[in-house]
């Protein structure tokens, strides 16, 4: 069962309550997602650290061949 955008946002939101989160269905098939997460917590972290933190919030849903999240493009940054 693929995940919906609001489920993805809710998981990220739980870990980053203050973040500006934009989840987009990139091809309209409910299976390829893009998420932009802008949060103060990212300041001072490099991109690998930032994205690791977002992946961690998704609690294993990206993992493995049976992962519910087939494709999620991530953009992370601290607010300007």
């Amino acid at each position: 069962m693929p995940m919906e955008g609001k489920d993805i946002e809710a998981l990220i939101r739980a870990a980053f309550p203050q973040a500006k989160i934009t989840v987009t269905d990139t091809v309209g098939d409910g299976n390829h997602w893009a998420a932009e997460v802008v949060d103060e917590a990212f300041r001072g972290m490099n991109r690998v650290q930032q994205q690791r933190a977002v992946y961690a919030s998704l609690k294993g849903k990206m993992d493995g061949a049976q992962g519910e999240l087939h494709a999620l493009a991530l953009t992370t940054k601290a607010p300007d």
Binding site: Q51, L58, G64, A71, T75
Partner: protein, 119 residues
């Protein structure tokens, strides 16, 4: 040899390694294809490891880097990032800087062309 030892040895022995789905000649996933395409276009010599060919490596590389997705790029033994990070770094020029700093040969004019095409 365990999968983690295998990975450690591969990234130590090769300057640039891309763990990907499929091969650089025949990628089997859009994200892997994008990163392999950038490296090919920039004329970077790199070793490709097809994780679909070995379930232990496929799982092992995720544990090794604490990173749940494929592709994963390593330069001089160091994890650089996945598809989104490599794309951003290509467009910002940070990837050029990384290759220059690490002494990896690449075609600067080709990298500039990618940036022009995506400006």
């Amino acid at each position: 040899m365990s999968a983690l030892d295998d990975i450690r040895e591969t990234i130590e022995k090769n300057d640039v390694v891309l763990y990907m789905k499929g091969t650089k000649m025949m990628p089997q996933c859009g994200f892997s294809s994008r990163v392999a395409g950038v490296l090919n276009y920039m004329g970077v010599e790199f070793t490709d490891v097809n994780v679909l060919a070995d379930p232990e490596i496929r799982q092992g590389i995720k544990e090794f880097s604490d990173w749940p997705t494929i592709p994963q790029l390593y330069v001089k033994g160091e994890f650089v990032g996945g598809c989104d990070i490599i794309t951003e770094m290509t467009l910002s020029g940070e990837l050029d800087t990384l290759f220059e700093t690490k002494g990896v040969a690449f075609d600067k004019a080709a990298a500039d062309k990618i940036r022009e095409a995506n400006a």
